[in-house]
């Protein structure tokens, strides 16, 4: 378990959180390599299907990052993302999947540090939870 390196899929919206991730880079904020970013125009583009797909393919965790409430480039996309993720977490829980493996967070374009903190915390969380149950069944 000690050398468990989680695989995390991260969805970032183009306007805030992807820019925040870039900001972390510009500030050279160091963090674990466990995550891979997929860019969408808005967090509201993140179809629950994508998240389920990632989990079914063995992702140990999924993060969806968007603009802060009220700051959405598209007026209210992040509110819709928030509702969808909240519902999806309920569904995940009902199927015995720890909802902590799915995280929604707001990272603005200037919040490189928050991006770093979010990644660090999530990697820790997933390390504590251990590998995804999807993988276990396969083995």
């Amino acid at each position: 378990m000690a050398d468990f390196e989680p695989r995390i899929v991260t969805f970032c919206c183009n306007w805030c959180s992807y820019a925040g991730a870039d900001g972390a880079g510009v500030a050279r904020l160091q963090m674990p390599t466990n995550f891979r970013i997929i860019r969408t125009m808005c967090s509201a583009r993140v179809d629950p299907e994508f998240i389920l797909r990632a989990f079914s393919k063995g992702a140990d965790g999924v993060m969806v990052l968007g603009c802060h409430p009220g700051d959405c480039h598209y007026i209210g996309g992040n509110y819709r993302a928030r509702r969808r993720i909240a519902l999806l977490r309920l569904v995940l829980e009902q199927y015995g999947f720890d909802p902590k493996r799915l995280k929604l967070e707001w990272v603005s374009a200037s919040e490189g540090e928050k991006f770093q903190k979010t990644v660090n915390e999530f990697v820790d969380t997933i390390k504590k939870l251990g590998p995804t149950p999807v993988k276990k069944e396969e083995n």
């Binding site: 880079g25 583009r45 179809d47 992702a59 996309g77 969808r84």
Partner: protein, 970 residues
Amino acid sequence: MCRLDKTFPTNDCSACILSPKMADCNGHPNIDVLTYHEVLKVDGEAGDFKVTVLKKARYVNPKECTGCGDCIAKCPVKNIPDKYEFGLVNRKAIYIPHAQAVPRVAVIDKSVCMKLTKDKCGNCFKACGKGAIHYDDKDEEIVLDVGSIIAAPGFKVWDASIATEYGYGRYKNVVTAIEYERMMCASGPDKGHITIPYFKVDNNTKEHPTKIAYIQCCGSRSEKKGWKKYCSSVCCMYATKQAMITKEHGDLQEDIFFMDIRSYGKEFEAYIHRGEDEYGIRMHRGARVSNVEENPDKSLTINYTDDQNNGVSETFDIVVLSVGLAPPEGAEEFAKTLGIELNNYGFCKTSVFKPLETTRKGIFVTGAFAAPKDIPTSVAEACGSSAKAGAWIVKKDFTPCAPKKYPVEKDVIGKEPRIGVWVCHCGINIGSVVKVPEVVEYAKTLPHVIIANESQYACAQDCLESISKAIVEQDLNRVVVASCTPRTHEPLFREACRDGGLNKYLFNMANIRDQCSWIHMHQPEAATAKAKDLLRMALAKAALLEPLVGSEIPVTNAAAVIGGGITGMNAALDIAAQGYPVHIVEKEKELGGFARNFNFKEDGICVKDYLAELIAKVEKCPLIIVHTGVTVKDIPGFVGNFTLRLSDGKDYPVGGVLFAVGAKPYQPTEYNYGKDAKVMTQIDFEAKLKDGYSPQNVVFIQCVGSRNDSVHYCSRVCCASSLRNAIKVKMANPMANVTIVHKDIRTYGFREELYQKASCLGVKFLRYPVTNAMPEYDGKCVKAFDATLGDYVEIPVDALVLATGIAPDRENKENLAKMVKVPISKDGFYFEAHQKLRPVDFATEGVYVAGAAHWPKFMDECIAQASGAASRMLTVISKDKLISEGIVAGVNESLCDGCGVCVGCCDYNAVSLVKQADGSFKSQVNPGLCKGCGCCVASCPSGALEQKGFRTKQIIAEIDACLDYPVGGE
């Protein structure tokens, strides 16, 4: 603005607002950004200026520099105070001004560079992999041929060391607000960790402040030597913002000391209340701080007089001075160069009726150079001055920049993907961490990859050319570059694709610098594996990319302006000045709007005379069609294609619509108004004064119909009109007793003059606590609680003037709003798309707002905003066609069930249900309205909706490419 952390009243991040604008300017084909240049001379006249500009030697070729920072790391000259950070940190002799600088290229400070001063060193030259350093660079003079000029040099922060009583410069824990802004900012020298400056310097353990004081009007509203008499307009708001944001950093006590709180702008009053009520910021009204003393433990004691004239002392960890705005550095010299005049305060001279015009024809002004002002106002004015400046270019008939010619795009439909890959070293930025050659070799093993190259700098001209060439020679139909971020560099590579005859949407990028090598610097193995994964994901998506074309939307080259007041008429004239027809719709029988009731002068000119002249101009203008006595029935359509349907049964096609419908005066029910002849509104009173009325005992009551339990906002204009009328009374009859009963006097900017003049003339000011009930009136006397005396006073009354506010006229606004689906704020005014980014636009494209319809405001502000809205309107109606963004949603009708879920989730009304011949419904996306967020796509339960460029299958391919392989792919 990029130095600010967040901005009021939305508290959104400055960088998020500003950076995209800077990048847009930099990349715009019609904009040349000349940084590090200085204007030397302006010859010629409006329509034909010759501007001589000094191009200062930068010693770094901006075309070659990639902003990687390798040169900076090697520069031995340290300890140069960094001006951008207000000297809070040091920089090198070669430096990039700041992280978001545009262009993000280095510059050498020749006064300290060892090579340039002593011919020693040369490290930066050796460090630069691109050979961008040129020590032999020389200053150069260039001449620009322009039709008009906009002056926007901004402002200077007032020098706080003049306020010796506050100890700035002597006490380390006294900081200016702008320094504090850097202390708060996540991209500032302390990365947003607020610490007590003194303890930080001395490495003491005590770091975070527990008590912070903000002292307002530092440098403003005072006759003291070196201080400014005017109000700086923005400090009340920014101090409250700083206090709010600081609270979000950690719990502490914060106190703001001020004379009046001036929250006169849109949503400002609510913001101050939030600060006080939700954040627990302690507001000390009517408190003027006499001095600040440093204690032996370096804490600071503030001595002040509270609002009941008691001397009070309190100790704080940090004192933030809310410094005012002064004319920009070198304003006099600048004005001389441009041949324009400054006003008494050293700001650019303008007039109420021409707020964007300088004293020289063809030169316009925008932003704080004309007066201290906030960001939303500056942005609206910036649009306005561009409309004004544009009119001169139209007249001169400049040849528009010839559109670039591209080769015919190759047909890729149905063809096997042939992908070319370029992996960038970015000097050592990527290459020192990620093993680039290994990534290239890996790329060659992946499906569809025809060629894979490594490149020292993929963004350099040579590489861009090789991409274009390879598209032709290798018959590539997709291109993937693994380098930095698409946010900054995608347009560049897309351009290279177009140059090679490839649709620009057939390009994809893997971000292996900002989101890989830079954040995993000490994990080269893992970072290389991650770079391979990111590239594999980018390739998987690229293979599925399709060529996209934005759909062409035809445009009707005409505008509709709803409302024929000062705002509407000025906007119409600005639009017509550029040669486009305008329909003005006025529901009254004549033009003029509310200003017809004004009986006062501004800048020595009677408003009524100005209005008559304006109406004559409008009626004479051949391009303006005036429709009076009619109302708008409906405005169906979308951007570029609206139909203006009027109550007289006539339809007019227009490309855009401006709402300049104004507001309404609040009709008072208070103080027996309408029954007691002594009680009147400002308008009534002004009309009587004009006829020679000269009362002995006059009382003005402020905030009637504003700032109360039912109307929360401040109506902005009432303080100044009371003062103007009070001055009139006193001038006519110096023995008159004139009292103004108020909560705060809000004469922001240069209007502070009115306050000073009224005080000098002996007008009495009686401030009652904000929380108290309104003053009482019994038909003879006004009884009010005087906060300073701490007791009630009775004032005899011959004339009781109610400073009635401005009501939104919500019903009229709502009717129009429904026609084009635009929102109304909770206060009943129109709600713009974004207070700072798009202050006169609605979220609905092609619909604009200006004047009092947007918020209560003064005439000069209405006129400036009218020009701003005209400019925004012109960006649409001046085009033959609009090209919508290629990344929009589309519907597969065979899968659509017509459930309508998508309709409700689109904030832009781009999705609608259309009834089919068989009676069923199908969803339909209007590409003209769609912004491409993809929200509807994710909402569709049947998979009928798709987002071009972000199709479900494309994103799924990325997910699968990520997880179907082990990390690093092997």
